[in-house]
Protein backbone atom coordinates (compact mmCIF):
# COMPACT_ATOMS: atom_id res chain seq x y z
CA UNK A 1 0.00 0.00 0.00
CA UNK A 2 1.36 3.35 -1.06
CA UNK A 3 -0.56 6.63 -0.83
CA UNK A 4 0.58 9.85 -2.41
CA UNK A 5 -1.04 13.26 -2.67
CA UNK A 6 -0.69 14.16 -6.34
CA UNK A 7 -2.93 17.16 -6.93
CA UNK A 8 -5.57 19.22 -5.16
CA UNK A 9 -8.03 16.70 -3.57
CA UNK A 10 -6.38 13.90 -5.53
CA UNK A 11 -4.45 10.90 -4.31
CA UNK A 12 -2.53 8.11 -5.98
CA UNK A 13 -2.97 4.70 -4.32
CA UNK A 14 -0.91 1.63 -5.01
CA UNK A 15 -2.26 -1.63 -3.64
CA UNK A 16 -0.99 -5.17 -3.64
CA UNK A 17 -3.29 -7.35 -5.75
CA UNK A 18 -1.42 -9.75 -8.02
CA UNK A 19 -4.58 -11.33 -9.37
CA UNK A 20 -6.16 -8.06 -10.45
CA UNK A 21 -2.84 -6.78 -11.76
CA UNK A 22 -2.44 -9.83 -13.96
CA UNK A 23 -5.96 -9.96 -15.35
CA UNK A 24 -6.90 -6.28 -15.72
CA UNK A 25 -7.70 -4.95 -19.19
CA UNK A 26 -7.65 -1.29 -20.22
CA UNK A 27 -10.79 0.48 -19.05
CA UNK A 28 -11.77 -2.06 -16.43
CA UNK A 29 -12.45 -1.09 -12.84
CA UNK A 30 -12.32 -2.44 -9.33
CA UNK A 31 -14.74 -2.13 -6.44
CA UNK A 32 -12.85 -0.99 -3.38
CA UNK A 33 -14.27 -1.16 0.11
CA UNK A 34 -13.49 -2.19 3.65
CA UNK A 35 -15.55 -5.28 4.27
CA UNK A 36 -18.67 -5.95 6.29
CA UNK A 37 -17.25 -4.80 9.63
CA UNK A 38 -17.02 -1.24 8.40
CA UNK A 39 -20.12 0.99 8.55
CA UNK A 40 -18.64 4.40 7.84
CA UNK A 41 -18.60 5.52 4.22
CA UNK A 42 -17.63 3.81 2.03
CA UNK A 43 -19.95 1.15 3.45
CA UNK A 44 -20.81 0.09 -0.07
CA UNK A 45 -17.63 -0.40 -2.07
CA UNK A 46 -16.87 2.29 -4.64
CA UNK A 47 -15.85 1.81 -8.26
CA UNK A 48 -12.44 3.06 -9.40
CA UNK A 49 -10.74 2.57 -12.74
CA UNK A 50 -7.59 0.53 -12.85
CA UNK A 51 -5.06 3.32 -13.34
CA UNK A 52 -1.93 1.25 -13.61
CA UNK A 53 -0.51 -2.17 -12.86
CA UNK A 54 2.94 -3.52 -12.29
CA UNK A 55 4.60 -6.81 -13.07
CA UNK A 56 5.07 -7.27 -9.34
CA UNK A 57 1.33 -7.34 -8.80
CA UNK A 58 0.55 -3.77 -7.73
CA UNK A 59 -2.51 -1.89 -8.89
CA UNK A 60 -2.63 1.91 -9.06
CA UNK A 61 -5.78 3.95 -8.47
CA UNK A 62 -6.21 7.68 -8.96
CA UNK A 63 -8.67 8.85 -6.30
CA UNK A 64 -10.29 12.25 -6.27
CA UNK A 65 -12.27 13.24 -3.19
CA UNK A 66 -15.95 13.88 -3.91
CA UNK A 67 -17.65 12.75 -0.74
CA UNK A 68 -17.10 10.83 2.47
CA UNK A 69 -16.25 7.54 0.77
CA UNK A 70 -13.47 8.81 -1.42
CA UNK A 71 -12.21 10.93 1.47
CA UNK A 72 -11.75 7.79 3.54
CA UNK A 73 -9.94 6.10 0.67
CA UNK A 74 -7.66 9.07 0.31
CA UNK A 75 -6.83 8.89 4.02
CA UNK A 76 -5.68 5.27 3.81
CA UNK A 77 -2.33 4.75 5.41
CA UNK A 78 0.46 2.35 4.73
CA UNK A 79 -0.46 -0.91 6.44
CA UNK A 80 -4.22 -0.40 6.16
CA UNK A 81 -6.13 -3.13 4.41
CA UNK A 82 -8.84 -2.64 1.82
CA UNK A 83 -11.03 -5.10 -0.02
CA UNK A 84 -10.69 -5.16 -3.81
CA UNK A 85 -13.06 -6.88 -6.20
CA UNK A 86 -12.05 -7.02 -9.83
CA UNK A 87 -11.10 -6.55 -12.53
CA UNK A 88 -14.67 -5.77 -13.56
CA UNK A 89 -16.57 -4.56 -16.61
CA UNK A 90 -15.99 -4.32 -20.33
CA UNK A 91 -12.69 -2.77 -21.42
CA UNK A 92 -11.87 -0.39 -24.24
CA UNK A 93 -11.39 -2.06 -27.62
CA UNK A 94 -8.73 -0.65 -29.90
CA UNK A 95 -8.99 -0.98 -33.65
CA UNK A 96 -5.80 -2.81 -34.72
CA UNK A 97 -3.29 -0.47 -36.26
CA UNK A 98 -5.42 2.66 -35.94
CA UNK A 99 -4.36 5.70 -33.92
CA UNK A 100 -5.92 6.17 -30.50
CA UNK A 101 -7.03 9.48 -29.04
CA UNK A 102 -7.72 9.47 -25.33
CA UNK A 103 -9.82 12.34 -24.01
CA UNK A 104 -9.61 12.60 -20.24
CA UNK A 105 -11.65 15.01 -18.14
CA UNK A 106 -10.43 15.30 -14.55
CA UNK A 107 -9.94 11.93 -12.84
CA UNK A 108 -11.29 10.46 -16.08
CA UNK A 109 -7.53 10.38 -16.65
CA UNK A 110 -7.19 7.19 -14.60
CA UNK A 111 -7.99 4.51 -17.21
CA UNK A 112 -5.74 6.23 -19.74
CA UNK A 113 -2.70 6.18 -17.50
CA UNK A 114 -3.09 2.42 -17.71
CA UNK A 115 -4.04 2.23 -21.38
CA UNK A 116 -1.70 4.80 -22.91
CA UNK A 117 1.44 3.29 -21.44
CA UNK A 118 0.67 -0.28 -22.41
CA UNK A 119 -0.91 0.48 -25.79
CA UNK A 120 2.16 2.49 -26.80
CA UNK A 121 4.35 -0.42 -25.86
CA UNK A 122 2.08 -2.57 -28.02
CA UNK A 123 2.81 -0.24 -30.93
CA UNK A 124 -0.28 1.94 -30.96
CA UNK A 125 -0.02 5.62 -31.80
CA UNK A 126 -1.68 7.08 -28.69
CA UNK A 127 -2.42 10.73 -28.04
CA UNK A 128 -3.60 11.75 -24.58
CA UNK A 129 -5.60 14.95 -24.16
CA UNK A 130 -6.15 15.81 -20.52
CA UNK A 131 -8.32 18.60 -19.17
CA UNK A 132 -8.82 19.98 -15.68
CA UNK A 133 -10.44 23.08 -14.21
CA UNK A 134 -7.15 24.59 -13.16
CA UNK A 135 -3.46 23.84 -12.69
CA UNK A 136 -3.68 22.80 -9.03
CA UNK A 137 -5.87 19.85 -10.03
CA UNK A 138 -3.55 18.59 -12.76
CA UNK A 139 -1.82 15.27 -12.15
CA UNK A 140 1.86 16.04 -12.72
CA UNK A 141 2.58 15.80 -16.51
CA UNK A 142 6.09 14.54 -15.77
CA UNK A 143 4.59 11.69 -13.74
CA UNK A 144 2.14 10.95 -16.54
CA UNK A 145 5.07 10.83 -18.93
CA UNK A 146 6.86 8.38 -16.67
CA UNK A 147 3.75 6.15 -16.43
CA UNK A 148 2.73 6.34 -20.08
CA UNK A 149 5.90 7.12 -22.00
CA UNK A 150 4.75 10.52 -23.21
CA UNK A 151 3.55 13.78 -21.72
CA UNK A 152 -0.14 14.55 -22.24
CA UNK A 153 -1.56 17.59 -23.97
CA UNK A 154 -2.96 19.51 -21.01
CA UNK A 155 -5.94 21.85 -21.08
CA UNK A 156 -7.18 23.94 -18.17
CA UNK A 157 -10.42 25.85 -18.22
CA UNK A 158 -8.86 28.84 -16.53
CA UNK A 159 -5.72 28.62 -18.65
CA UNK A 160 -3.46 28.24 -15.62
CA UNK A 161 -1.58 25.36 -17.26
CA UNK A 162 -1.24 24.10 -20.82
CA UNK A 163 -3.84 25.18 -23.33
CA UNK A 164 -6.68 27.36 -22.14
CA UNK A 165 -10.19 25.94 -22.57
CA UNK A 166 -11.85 22.56 -22.51
CA UNK A 167 -10.21 19.32 -23.39
CA UNK A 168 -12.90 18.73 -26.02
CA UNK A 169 -11.46 21.71 -27.88
CA UNK A 170 -8.36 19.57 -28.21
CA UNK A 171 -10.23 17.13 -30.40
CA UNK A 172 -10.54 19.92 -32.95
CA UNK A 173 -6.84 20.35 -32.82
CA UNK A 174 -7.31 23.82 -31.40
CA UNK A 175 -3.99 25.03 -29.98
CA UNK A 176 -2.28 21.97 -31.45
CA UNK A 177 -2.08 20.15 -34.75
CA UNK A 178 -5.16 18.31 -36.03
CA UNK A 179 -5.83 15.07 -34.20
CA UNK A 180 -8.81 13.47 -35.90
CA UNK A 181 -6.69 12.01 -38.68
CA UNK A 182 -5.92 8.46 -39.80
CA UNK A 183 -9.33 7.01 -38.86
CA UNK A 184 -8.68 7.24 -35.15
CA UNK A 185 -10.50 5.53 -32.29
CA UNK A 186 -11.52 8.13 -29.76
CA UNK A 187 -11.77 7.01 -26.15
CA UNK A 188 -13.27 9.30 -23.54
CA UNK A 189 -13.68 9.31 -19.78
CA UNK A 190 -14.82 12.27 -17.74
CA UNK A 191 -17.86 14.34 -16.77
CA UNK A 192 -21.20 13.51 -18.41
CA UNK A 193 -21.30 16.87 -20.20
CA UNK A 194 -17.94 16.18 -21.82
CA UNK A 195 -19.01 12.73 -22.96
CA UNK A 196 -22.27 14.14 -24.34
CA UNK A 197 -20.45 16.81 -26.34
CA UNK A 198 -18.13 14.21 -27.84
CA UNK A 199 -20.99 11.82 -28.55
CA UNK A 200 -22.80 14.55 -30.46
CA UNK A 201 -19.73 15.19 -32.57
CA UNK A 202 -19.09 11.52 -33.13
CA UNK A 203 -22.66 11.09 -34.39
CA UNK A 204 -22.29 14.06 -36.73
CA UNK A 205 -18.73 13.51 -37.89
CA UNK A 206 -18.69 9.73 -37.87
CA UNK A 207 -15.56 8.98 -35.85
CA UNK A 208 -15.48 5.91 -33.62
CA UNK A 209 -16.09 6.87 -29.99
CA UNK A 210 -16.00 4.73 -26.88
CA UNK A 211 -16.96 6.31 -23.58
CA UNK A 212 -16.48 5.15 -20.01
CA UNK A 213 -19.52 6.16 -17.94
CA UNK A 214 -20.19 6.57 -14.23
CA UNK A 215 -23.19 5.57 -12.19
CA UNK A 216 -23.76 4.62 -8.54
CA UNK A 217 -22.86 0.97 -8.09
CA UNK A 218 -23.85 -1.60 -5.52
CA UNK A 219 -22.44 -4.97 -6.48
CA UNK A 220 -20.24 -4.22 -9.49
CA UNK A 221 -21.03 -7.63 -10.96
CA UNK A 222 -24.54 -7.37 -12.39
CA UNK A 223 -26.71 -8.66 -9.56
CA UNK A 224 -28.21 -5.51 -8.03
CA UNK A 225 -29.30 -3.70 -11.21
CA UNK A 226 -28.38 -0.49 -9.47
CA UNK A 227 -26.06 1.03 -12.05
CA UNK A 228 -28.18 1.53 -15.13
CA UNK A 229 -27.64 4.13 -17.82
CA UNK A 230 -30.08 4.74 -20.67
CA UNK A 231 -29.43 2.87 -23.91
CA UNK A 232 -30.17 4.29 -27.36
CA UNK A 233 -32.91 1.66 -27.78
CA UNK A 234 -34.56 2.91 -24.54
CA UNK A 235 -33.42 -0.21 -22.71
CA UNK A 236 -31.29 0.29 -19.63
CA UNK A 237 -27.67 -0.81 -19.70
CA UNK A 238 -25.78 -1.93 -16.62
CA UNK A 239 -22.68 0.19 -16.28
CA UNK A 240 -20.91 -2.55 -14.36
CA UNK A 241 -21.21 -5.50 -16.74
CA UNK A 242 -22.37 -4.05 -20.05
CA UNK A 243 -20.02 -1.09 -19.47
CA UNK A 244 -18.42 0.96 -18.06
CA UNK A 245 -17.07 1.31 -21.62
CA UNK A 246 -19.76 1.68 -24.26
CA UNK A 247 -19.77 2.51 -27.88
CA UNK A 248 -21.18 6.06 -27.79
CA UNK A 249 -23.87 5.04 -30.28
CA UNK A 250 -25.20 2.44 -27.86
CA UNK A 251 -26.32 5.05 -25.33
CA UNK A 252 -29.07 7.68 -25.21
CA UNK A 253 -27.49 11.14 -25.02
CA UNK A 254 -30.49 13.39 -24.62
CA UNK A 255 -29.68 15.61 -21.67
Amino acid sequence: MKVQHVAEATWWLELESPDIARRAEWGQFVMIGFGVDHLDPPFLPRPFSVGWRSEEGRVGLLVRVFGAGSRRLASLRVGDRALLLGPLGRPFHLAPGKPVICVAGGVGLAPFLFLAGEARRDGYDVRLLYGEGSADRVFDPALIERLTGEAPVVWTEDGSLGHPGRVTDGVDGAGDQAVLVGDPTVLACGPAAMLRALAGRSAREGFRLQVSVEEHMGCGVGTCQGCVVPGADSRWRKACTEGPVFDASELAWSS
Binding site: G33, G35, V36, D37, H38, L39, P41, P42, F43, L44, P45, G69, L83, L85, E215, H216, M217, G218, C219, G220, V221, G222, T223, C224, Q225, G226, C227, V228, V229, P230, R235, W236, T241
Partner: protein, 310 residues
Protein backbone atom coordinates in the same frame (compact mmCIF):
# COMPACT_ATOMS: atom_id res chain seq x y z
CA UNK B 1 -19.53 -32.38 14.38
CA UNK B 2 -22.30 -29.83 14.45
CA UNK B 3 -25.44 -30.29 12.43
CA UNK B 4 -26.64 -27.45 10.28
CA UNK B 5 -29.11 -29.48 8.24
CA UNK B 6 -32.79 -28.83 8.77
CA UNK B 7 -35.94 -30.14 7.18
CA UNK B 8 -38.04 -27.20 6.10
CA UNK B 9 -40.70 -26.84 3.43
CA UNK B 10 -40.55 -30.59 2.82
CA UNK B 11 -36.87 -30.68 1.86
CA UNK B 12 -33.52 -30.65 3.56
CA UNK B 13 -31.53 -27.41 3.81
CA UNK B 14 -27.82 -28.08 4.25
CA UNK B 15 -27.33 -24.58 5.65
CA UNK B 16 -29.73 -21.99 7.06
CA UNK B 17 -28.09 -19.28 4.94
CA UNK B 18 -29.75 -18.13 1.71
CA UNK B 19 -29.14 -15.16 -0.56
CA UNK B 20 -31.87 -12.50 -0.51
CA UNK B 21 -34.01 -11.56 -3.47
CA UNK B 22 -32.67 -8.72 -5.58
CA UNK B 23 -29.17 -9.00 -4.20
CA UNK B 24 -27.98 -12.09 -6.06
CA UNK B 25 -29.57 -11.68 -9.50
CA UNK B 26 -30.48 -15.10 -10.82
CA UNK B 27 -27.52 -16.78 -9.14
CA UNK B 28 -25.29 -17.02 -12.18
CA UNK B 29 -23.78 -13.55 -11.69
CA UNK B 30 -22.29 -14.65 -8.38
CA UNK B 31 -21.34 -18.17 -9.48
CA UNK B 32 -17.62 -17.40 -9.53
CA UNK B 33 -17.60 -15.46 -6.28
CA UNK B 34 -19.90 -17.45 -4.01
CA UNK B 35 -19.87 -21.25 -3.63
CA UNK B 36 -23.62 -21.28 -4.20
CA UNK B 37 -24.01 -25.01 -3.86
CA UNK B 38 -22.47 -24.96 -0.38
CA UNK B 39 -25.07 -22.69 1.20
CA UNK B 40 -28.79 -23.11 1.81
CA UNK B 41 -29.90 -21.55 -1.40
CA UNK B 42 -31.00 -18.32 -2.98
CA UNK B 43 -34.06 -16.29 -3.79
CA UNK B 44 -34.22 -14.92 -7.32
CA UNK B 45 -34.82 -11.33 -8.29
CA UNK B 46 -38.58 -10.67 -8.43
CA UNK B 47 -40.34 -12.21 -11.42
CA UNK B 48 -43.48 -10.62 -12.87
CA UNK B 49 -45.72 -11.83 -15.68
CA UNK B 50 -44.47 -9.25 -18.13
CA UNK B 51 -40.93 -7.87 -18.18
CA UNK B 52 -40.46 -4.62 -16.25
CA UNK B 53 -38.04 -1.91 -17.24
CA UNK B 54 -37.51 -0.57 -13.76
CA UNK B 55 -36.74 2.92 -12.48
CA UNK B 56 -34.44 5.66 -13.74
CA UNK B 57 -31.05 6.22 -12.05
CA UNK B 58 -29.82 6.78 -9.46
CA UNK B 59 -31.26 3.51 -8.29
CA UNK B 60 -29.08 3.04 -5.24
CA UNK B 61 -27.14 5.12 -2.76
CA UNK B 62 -25.48 4.69 0.58
CA UNK B 63 -27.24 5.68 3.81
CA UNK B 64 -25.86 5.65 7.36
CA UNK B 65 -25.06 2.00 8.06
CA UNK B 66 -26.94 0.80 5.00
CA UNK B 67 -28.26 1.65 1.59
CA UNK B 68 -31.39 2.72 -0.21
CA UNK B 69 -32.59 1.20 -3.45
CA UNK B 70 -35.38 1.74 -5.94
CA UNK B 71 -34.66 -0.72 -8.71
CA UNK B 72 -38.33 -0.80 -9.64
CA UNK B 73 -38.49 -4.58 -9.88
CA UNK B 74 -36.72 -4.58 -13.22
CA UNK B 75 -36.90 -8.14 -14.46
CA UNK B 76 -37.03 -10.17 -17.61
CA UNK B 77 -40.58 -11.41 -17.05
CA UNK B 78 -41.95 -14.91 -16.68
CA UNK B 79 -41.26 -16.21 -20.16
CA UNK B 80 -37.61 -15.19 -20.35
CA UNK B 81 -37.08 -16.26 -16.74
CA UNK B 82 -38.13 -19.75 -17.71
CA UNK B 83 -36.17 -19.70 -20.93
CA UNK B 84 -32.97 -17.95 -19.86
CA UNK B 85 -32.56 -18.02 -16.09
CA UNK B 86 -34.13 -21.18 -14.72
CA UNK B 87 -32.06 -23.63 -16.81
CA UNK B 88 -28.81 -22.39 -15.31
CA UNK B 89 -30.19 -22.70 -11.79
CA UNK B 90 -31.54 -26.17 -12.53
CA UNK B 91 -28.22 -27.36 -13.88
CA UNK B 92 -25.87 -25.74 -11.43
CA UNK B 93 -27.53 -25.93 -8.04
CA UNK B 94 -27.75 -29.49 -6.84
CA UNK B 95 -27.95 -29.08 -3.08
CA UNK B 96 -28.83 -25.42 -2.69
CA UNK B 97 -32.53 -24.57 -3.00
CA UNK B 98 -34.06 -21.91 -5.18
CA UNK B 99 -37.06 -19.81 -4.26
CA UNK B 100 -38.59 -17.63 -6.96
CA UNK B 101 -39.57 -14.17 -5.74
CA UNK B 102 -42.94 -13.28 -7.27
CA UNK B 103 -44.52 -9.87 -7.79
CA UNK B 104 -47.66 -8.64 -9.46
CA UNK B 105 -49.89 -5.63 -9.75
CA UNK B 106 -52.96 -7.72 -9.02
CA UNK B 107 -53.79 -11.13 -7.60
CA UNK B 108 -54.26 -12.28 -11.20
CA UNK B 109 -50.70 -11.31 -12.08
CA UNK B 110 -49.26 -13.13 -9.07
CA UNK B 111 -51.37 -16.18 -9.93
CA UNK B 112 -50.21 -16.09 -13.54
CA UNK B 113 -46.56 -16.22 -12.50
CA UNK B 114 -47.17 -19.14 -10.16
CA UNK B 115 -49.31 -20.99 -12.67
CA UNK B 116 -46.79 -20.36 -15.43
CA UNK B 117 -43.84 -21.59 -13.38
CA UNK B 118 -45.38 -24.46 -11.50
CA UNK B 119 -44.75 -27.13 -14.10
CA UNK B 120 -41.06 -26.20 -14.50
CA UNK B 121 -38.14 -27.77 -12.71
CA UNK B 122 -35.20 -26.19 -10.97
CA UNK B 123 -36.78 -24.46 -8.01
CA UNK B 124 -38.36 -25.35 -4.72
CA UNK B 125 -41.12 -22.82 -4.25
CA UNK B 126 -42.22 -19.23 -4.17
CA UNK B 127 -41.42 -16.20 -2.08
CA UNK B 128 -44.37 -13.90 -2.55
CA UNK B 129 -43.34 -10.26 -2.41
CA UNK B 130 -46.39 -8.40 -1.11
CA UNK B 131 -44.69 -5.04 -0.56
CA UNK B 132 -45.29 -4.04 -4.15
CA UNK B 133 -47.88 -1.31 -4.81
CA UNK B 134 -51.14 -2.68 -6.15
CA UNK B 135 -51.82 -0.17 -8.86
CA UNK B 136 -55.49 -1.04 -9.17
CA UNK B 137 -56.49 -0.53 -5.58
CA UNK B 138 -53.80 2.01 -4.78
CA UNK B 139 -52.79 -0.13 -1.80
CA UNK B 140 -50.42 -2.95 -1.01
CA UNK B 141 -51.24 -6.56 -0.39
CA UNK B 142 -48.80 -6.48 2.49
CA UNK B 143 -50.73 -3.83 4.40
CA UNK B 144 -54.29 -4.82 3.51
CA UNK B 145 -55.52 -7.73 5.58
CA UNK B 146 -58.31 -8.96 3.35
CA UNK B 147 -56.38 -8.48 0.12
CA UNK B 148 -53.53 -10.50 1.59
CA UNK B 149 -55.83 -13.32 2.69
CA UNK B 150 -57.39 -13.43 -0.73
CA UNK B 151 -54.04 -13.40 -2.53
CA UNK B 152 -52.50 -16.18 -0.46
CA UNK B 153 -55.67 -18.27 -0.72
CA UNK B 154 -55.70 -17.85 -4.44
CA UNK B 155 -52.02 -18.81 -4.87
CA UNK B 156 -52.57 -21.81 -2.62
CA UNK B 157 -55.02 -23.14 -5.17
CA UNK B 158 -52.45 -22.76 -7.96
CA UNK B 159 -49.63 -24.78 -6.46
CA UNK B 160 -48.57 -27.46 -4.05
CA UNK B 161 -45.07 -26.06 -3.81
CA UNK B 162 -44.09 -24.08 -0.72
CA UNK B 163 -45.53 -20.57 -0.60
CA UNK B 164 -43.49 -18.20 1.55
CA UNK B 165 -44.91 -14.73 2.02
CA UNK B 166 -42.42 -11.90 2.36
CA UNK B 167 -43.90 -9.34 4.73
CA UNK B 168 -43.30 -5.63 4.85
CA UNK B 169 -42.01 -4.06 8.05
CA UNK B 170 -44.10 -0.91 8.13
CA UNK B 171 -47.19 -2.19 9.87
CA UNK B 172 -48.09 -1.62 13.51
CA UNK B 173 -48.56 -5.34 14.22
CA UNK B 174 -46.86 -7.84 11.95
CA UNK B 175 -48.43 -10.68 13.96
CA UNK B 176 -51.80 -9.99 12.34
CA UNK B 177 -50.33 -10.48 8.88
CA UNK B 178 -48.41 -13.57 9.99
CA UNK B 179 -51.62 -15.19 11.17
CA UNK B 180 -53.48 -14.23 8.01
CA UNK B 181 -50.81 -15.93 5.94
CA UNK B 182 -50.99 -19.05 8.05
CA UNK B 183 -54.76 -19.20 7.92
CA UNK B 184 -54.79 -18.64 4.17
CA UNK B 185 -52.52 -21.58 3.53
CA UNK B 186 -48.99 -20.19 3.32
CA UNK B 187 -46.09 -22.49 4.24
CA UNK B 188 -43.73 -19.89 5.59
CA UNK B 189 -42.89 -16.22 6.06
CA UNK B 190 -39.95 -14.05 5.12
CA UNK B 191 -39.33 -11.08 7.40
CA UNK B 192 -38.47 -8.44 6.37
CA UNK B 193 -38.40 -6.40 3.22
CA UNK B 194 -36.92 -2.88 3.15
CA UNK B 195 -38.15 0.24 4.98
CA UNK B 196 -39.37 3.19 2.90
CA UNK B 197 -36.75 5.92 2.93
CA UNK B 198 -35.84 9.20 1.26
CA UNK B 199 -32.36 10.58 0.73
CA UNK B 200 -32.05 14.23 -0.23
CA UNK B 201 -29.19 15.75 -2.21
CA UNK B 202 -29.14 19.02 -0.33
CA UNK B 203 -27.06 20.81 -2.94
CA UNK B 204 -29.33 19.98 -5.83
CA UNK B 205 -32.42 20.05 -3.58
CA UNK B 206 -33.61 16.87 -5.19
CA UNK B 207 -33.95 13.26 -4.11
CA UNK B 208 -30.78 11.26 -4.75
CA UNK B 209 -32.88 8.34 -5.97
CA UNK B 210 -34.50 8.67 -9.39
CA UNK B 211 -37.72 7.18 -8.08
CA UNK B 212 -37.71 9.75 -5.22
CA UNK B 213 -38.14 7.24 -2.39
CA UNK B 214 -36.67 3.78 -2.03
CA UNK B 215 -36.19 0.89 0.36
CA UNK B 216 -33.61 0.98 3.13
CA UNK B 217 -31.60 -2.18 3.83
CA UNK B 218 -28.36 -3.19 5.47
CA UNK B 219 -27.00 -3.31 9.04
CA UNK B 220 -29.02 -0.21 9.99
CA UNK B 221 -32.22 -2.29 9.97
CA UNK B 222 -30.89 -5.33 11.82
CA UNK B 223 -32.61 -4.69 15.18
CA UNK B 224 -35.92 -3.96 13.46
CA UNK B 225 -35.65 -7.15 11.43
CA UNK B 226 -34.88 -9.26 14.49
CA UNK B 227 -37.83 -7.71 16.33
CA UNK B 228 -40.27 -8.32 13.49
CA UNK B 229 -39.01 -11.86 12.94
CA UNK B 230 -39.48 -12.60 16.63
CA UNK B 231 -42.92 -11.05 16.62
CA UNK B 232 -44.00 -12.92 13.48
CA UNK B 233 -42.61 -16.24 14.71
CA UNK B 234 -44.42 -15.92 18.03
CA UNK B 235 -47.67 -15.05 16.26
CA UNK B 236 -48.01 -18.16 14.13
CA UNK B 237 -46.56 -21.62 13.74
CA UNK B 238 -45.06 -21.17 10.26
CA UNK B 239 -41.31 -21.38 9.71
CA UNK B 240 -39.90 -17.88 9.32
CA UNK B 241 -36.95 -16.74 7.21
CA UNK B 242 -35.14 -13.88 8.93
CA UNK B 243 -33.84 -11.04 6.74
CA UNK B 244 -32.34 -7.62 7.31
CA UNK B 245 -28.81 -6.40 7.88
CA UNK B 246 -27.15 -9.78 8.38
CA UNK B 247 -23.39 -9.70 7.86
CA UNK B 248 -22.01 -12.21 10.36
CA UNK B 249 -22.79 -15.50 12.02
CA UNK B 250 -23.74 -13.62 15.19
CA UNK B 251 -26.22 -11.46 13.28
CA UNK B 252 -27.79 -14.59 11.81
CA UNK B 253 -27.94 -16.15 15.26
CA UNK B 254 -29.85 -13.16 16.58
CA UNK B 255 -32.53 -13.99 14.01
CA UNK B 256 -32.38 -17.72 14.65
CA UNK B 257 -32.66 -17.33 18.43
CA UNK B 258 -35.54 -14.94 17.82
CA UNK B 259 -37.36 -17.64 15.88
CA UNK B 260 -36.02 -17.78 12.32
CA UNK B 261 -35.49 -21.23 10.84
CA UNK B 262 -33.54 -19.87 7.89
CA UNK B 263 -31.93 -16.51 7.17
CA UNK B 264 -31.11 -14.47 4.08
CA UNK B 265 -28.10 -12.29 3.43
CA UNK B 266 -28.67 -9.32 1.11
CA UNK B 267 -26.87 -5.99 1.18
CA UNK B 268 -23.79 -7.52 2.81
CA UNK B 269 -23.11 -9.39 -0.45
CA UNK B 270 -22.43 -6.09 -2.17
CA UNK B 271 -19.91 -5.18 0.48
CA UNK B 272 -18.25 -8.57 0.28
CA UNK B 273 -19.57 -11.50 -1.76
CA UNK B 274 -17.90 -13.88 0.65
CA UNK B 275 -20.21 -12.65 3.41
CA UNK B 276 -22.75 -15.43 2.79
CA UNK B 277 -20.17 -18.16 3.31
CA UNK B 278 -18.77 -16.25 6.29
CA UNK B 279 -22.21 -16.13 7.88
CA UNK B 280 -22.52 -19.89 7.42
CA UNK B 281 -19.10 -20.46 8.94
CA UNK B 282 -19.85 -18.10 11.79
CA UNK B 283 -22.88 -20.19 12.68
CA UNK B 284 -20.80 -23.36 12.58
CA UNK B 285 -18.22 -21.75 14.85
CA UNK B 286 -20.90 -20.71 17.33
CA UNK B 287 -22.38 -24.20 17.48
CA UNK B 288 -18.90 -25.57 18.00
CA UNK B 289 -17.98 -23.06 20.66
CA UNK B 290 -21.21 -23.43 22.61
CA UNK B 291 -21.39 -27.19 22.26
CA UNK B 292 -24.74 -27.02 20.51
CA UNK B 293 -25.37 -30.20 18.56
CA UNK B 294 -27.93 -29.06 16.00
CA UNK B 295 -29.07 -25.71 14.82
CA UNK B 296 -32.67 -26.70 15.41
CA UNK B 297 -32.08 -26.36 19.16
CA UNK B 298 -31.41 -22.67 18.67
CA UNK B 299 -34.48 -21.75 16.63
CA UNK B 300 -36.62 -19.56 18.87
CA UNK B 301 -34.50 -20.39 21.92
CA UNK B 302 -34.48 -16.77 23.06
CA UNK B 303 -35.52 -16.47 26.68
CA UNK B 304 -37.94 -13.59 26.59
CA UNK B 305 -41.57 -12.87 27.12
CA UNK B 306 -43.61 -12.10 24.01
CA UNK B 307 -44.27 -8.73 22.42
CA UNK B 308 -46.19 -6.19 24.42
CA UNK B 309 -48.34 -5.34 21.45
CA UNK B 310 -51.43 -7.45 20.84
Amino acid sequence: MVELRQSVFGVEFQSPVLLASGTCGYGREYAELIPLDEIGGLVTKAVSVEPRVGNPPHRIAETPGGMINAIGLENVGLRRFIGEKLPWLRENLRRAHVLVNVVGRSAEEYAAVVAGLDGEEGFLGYEINVSCPNVEGGTMFGTDESALAELVGRLRRETERPIIVKLTPNVPDIGIYARICEESGADGLSTINTFPGLLVDVDRRRPVIGNVSGGVSGPAILPMGVYLTWHAALSCSLPVIGIGGIRSGEDALQYILAGATLVQVGTALFVDPSAAKAVHEGIVAYLDRTGTGTIGELVGALEARGPVLA
